[in-house]
């Protein structure tokens, strides 16, 4: 009896030791990410190939991400997903490390998706784009006339009053309202901001709600609204199987190009592993998995992902239309601090009135 008891204790101890040893062997990579990078289907191949565990923390909004980094100790974070147009802000604060971009497979990138002007500061590259898409008009083609969606005018025409939702992110929507008013996103500054106040308030009056990603998806999927300004493939693609009538288009006035990038965080103690992660994400396989992530879909920055994606997936992403779309899309506005504050004041006024 005593022998049996001792054996049991030894077996349990051995099991625990083995589990602890295994846990100790597995290295950790800490990533500050957007929700598409939390998909196990994306992370698993990298974790298995490098015997590493990727710990992810989602954040929303560049300001929140940068604050998180500033409040962390050096080494807490290894990689970060960041809006390509905001890389300069992070570099300015000394939060990103130089990236050996020559070691990445960017030769096969969509040229428009490289965005070197934004990911390179003073000749040094700090981030590499990984995924892009459009903030434009998403709609339910069973409930609206698709021909109407060819122009942003339809949203101000009165025909769709009460059937519109506004995506709750000020930069792309202010950009789209600017396009409707004939102002390019690059020209949207403090002096032109007041020009779009009136059309923005009219759009708000015509809308039913202003909602985040999940709220927008729910509203479109349940028929609560029929049109979403600020939406795009990133919102409708994951709902395609449930409701193929959910569609999107870039109107004649244009749409906004969003592009997310991946960077190594300054002070990481695992720069090699961080670089390996970025190599994986920018590889054709990683790009295909990221493009079809369960959280939201988007175009891979690397064209070579087209060899891995299925025809059906490429059709949903509108792979063949990209040259046309890219030629008509404009980048997000990149406001300085004061203009950014003025834009957010305008957005708060819209929400509160």
């Amino acid at each position: 009896m005593a022998l049996k008891h001792t054996c049991s204790i030894l077996a349990v101890t051995a099991g625990l030791t083995s589990a602890l040893a295994s846990a100790a062997q597995a290295e950790d990579l800490n990533a500050l990410i957007w929700c598409d990078h939390a998909d196990p289907e994306l992370l698993q191949p990298f974790e298995e190939a490098h015997d590493v565990r990727v710990n992810v923390k989602e954040y929303e909004g560049t300001a929140a991400g940068l604050t998180l980094l500033e409040q962390s100790r050096p080494g807490d974070w290894d990689v970060m997903v960041i809006d390509a147009v905001d890389v300069g802000r992070a570099v300015e604060r000394g939060l990103l490390a130089p990236l050996p971009v020559d070691q990445l497979a960017t030769d096969s990138y969509f040229p428009e998706a490289v965005l070197a002007d934004h990911t390179t500061v003073d000749g040094t590259t700090y981030a590499v784009t990984e995924k892009f898409g459009y903030n434009t008009i998403a709609y339910n083609k069973a409930a609206v006339d698709p021909a109407d969606m060819a122009s942003l005018d339809a949203l101000w025409s009165g025909k769709y009053d009460g059937r519109i939702a506004i995506y709750d992110y000020y930069l792309p929507v202010l950009g789209l309202v600017g396009l409707e008013a004939g102002i390019d996103t690059a020209d949207l500054g403090a002096d032109t901001l007041e020009t779009i106040r009136e059309p923005l308030m009219k759009l708000n009056a015509a809308s039913k709600q202003v909602s985040d990603v999940v709220g927008s998806q729910t509203a479109l999927a349940t028929g609560e609204v029929d049109v979403l300004i600020g939406g795009g493939e990133w919102l409708t693609a994951v709902l395609n199987a449930e409701n193929p009538d959910l569609d999107w288009t870039i109107p004649e006035e244009g749409g906004l190009l969003w592009a997310q990038s991946l960077a190594i965080v300054e002070g990481t103690e695992k720069p090699e592993l961080a670089l390996e992660f970025i190599k994986y994400i920018t590889s054709p396989e990683g790009q295909a998995r990221l493009a079809t992530s369960s959280c939201y879909w988007g175009m891979p920055a690397n064209k070579a992902a087209g060899d891995v994606l299925t025809d059906e997936q490429k059709a949903i992403l509108r792979w063949d239309d990209q040259p046309d779309y890219l030629s008509r899309a404009q980048l997000y506005p990149v406001p300085d601090a004061d203009t950014d504050a003025a834009m957010q004041d305008l957005w708060t006024d819209m929400l509160q009135n």
Binding site: Y170, Q209, N353
Partner: protein, 284 residues
């Protein structure tokens, strides 16, 4: 050492952990928040300072000021409706439900607490939508010619809140009711009071401590809630917590977020003071 000194030392030792806890997890963070509220944002940098600019802006900027009123209005309506619904429910469970079924009735009353708060809010979004269960039923029964918009309005936020807080209030009022001796009602009836008079003049006043405690909890939880108005309100008006989140998530304006949080705490403190004064809580 005298017995008195020994007792004092023992008392201090026993109280010390609670004091240290309060100091570490309330007093110091609160002081840090007040200090932060006196700083300001210059460009994208936080500049330490000692000015009241953020507070001034809260009361002069119409969008921020409106947030206070929206929060107060929603909270007041939710608290009143929840009390009006919870008191009869608690009274029925305490006095009309047979003793053997009371536990089951209470269990059913608190059942919604078992669901995730976020999931519950999204469920309400589906129920209250124009193509949701409520509108389908009303239109199907011919009570409405066409669906009306409830979702993405203040009404949806209030319904979501009331659903949650009625349960909370039911529990606090029930715990008060169940402790009342039945002799109070019997004595009142012996003296000629009608059933309604017994409830209005005897039972109701005796349950006021429970009602006020529940109402205060409802007030505090409701005015500080971010999730329900965010999911059900459709962002068509912003409450104080939503404004605080905007400052944090979008702007990185920690000083303004801190100032708004201090204002929120002041409102809650005033509500507590009013509640305690009215009930003379220290004697309850």
């Amino acid at each position: 050492m005298s017995i008195e000194k020994q007792e004092k030392r023992q008392g201090a030792t026993l109280v010390a952990p609670a004091l240290l806890w309060t100091l570490g997890f309330f007093v110091i963070p609160f002081a840090a928040m007040v200090m932060m509220s006196l700083a300001h944002l210059e460009g994208r940098e936080i500049v330490q300072g000692h000015d009241l600019g953020n507070y001034l802006r809260i009361f002069t900027d119409p969008s921020l000021r409106r947030g206070i009123f929206v929060s107060l209005e929603i909270t007041a309506v939710v608290t009143v409706i929840s009390v009006l619904l919870a008191w009869p429910l608690a009274w029925i469970i305490a006095t009309r439900v047979p003793a053997r079924w009371r536990r089951m009735a209470l269990l059913l009353a608190v059942l919604p607490f078992w669901t995730s708060y976020v999931v519950r809010s999204y469920s309400w979004a589906l129920v209250l939508g124009e193509k949701g269960v409520v509108m389908n039923a009303l239109v199907g029964l011919g009570l409405l010619a066409e669906p009306v918009q409830i979702m993405a309005t203040r009404s949806a936020t209030i319904i979501g809140f009331v659903h949650f807080f009625v349960m909370l209030l039911t529990l606090t009022i029930y715990s008060n009711l169940i402790q009342l001796s039945p002799n109070y009602a019997r004595a009142a009836e012996d003296l000629g009071a009608s059933k309604w008079q017994v409830i209005r003049l005897v039972i109701l006043p005796l349950t006021l401590p429970g009602v006020m405690t529940g109402a205060f909890l409802t007030f505090v939880l409701c005015i500080g809630d971010y999730i329900t108005p965010q999911i059900l309100g459709g962002n068509n008006e912003l409450t104080l917590p939503q404004l605080i989140m905007l400052q944090l998530g979008r702007r990185g304006d920690f000083p303004m977020a801190s100032a708004l949080s201090v204002v929120l705490m002041v409102i809650v403190t005033l509500a507590y003071a009013a509640c305690a004064r009215w009930l003379k809580m220290e004697r309850v």
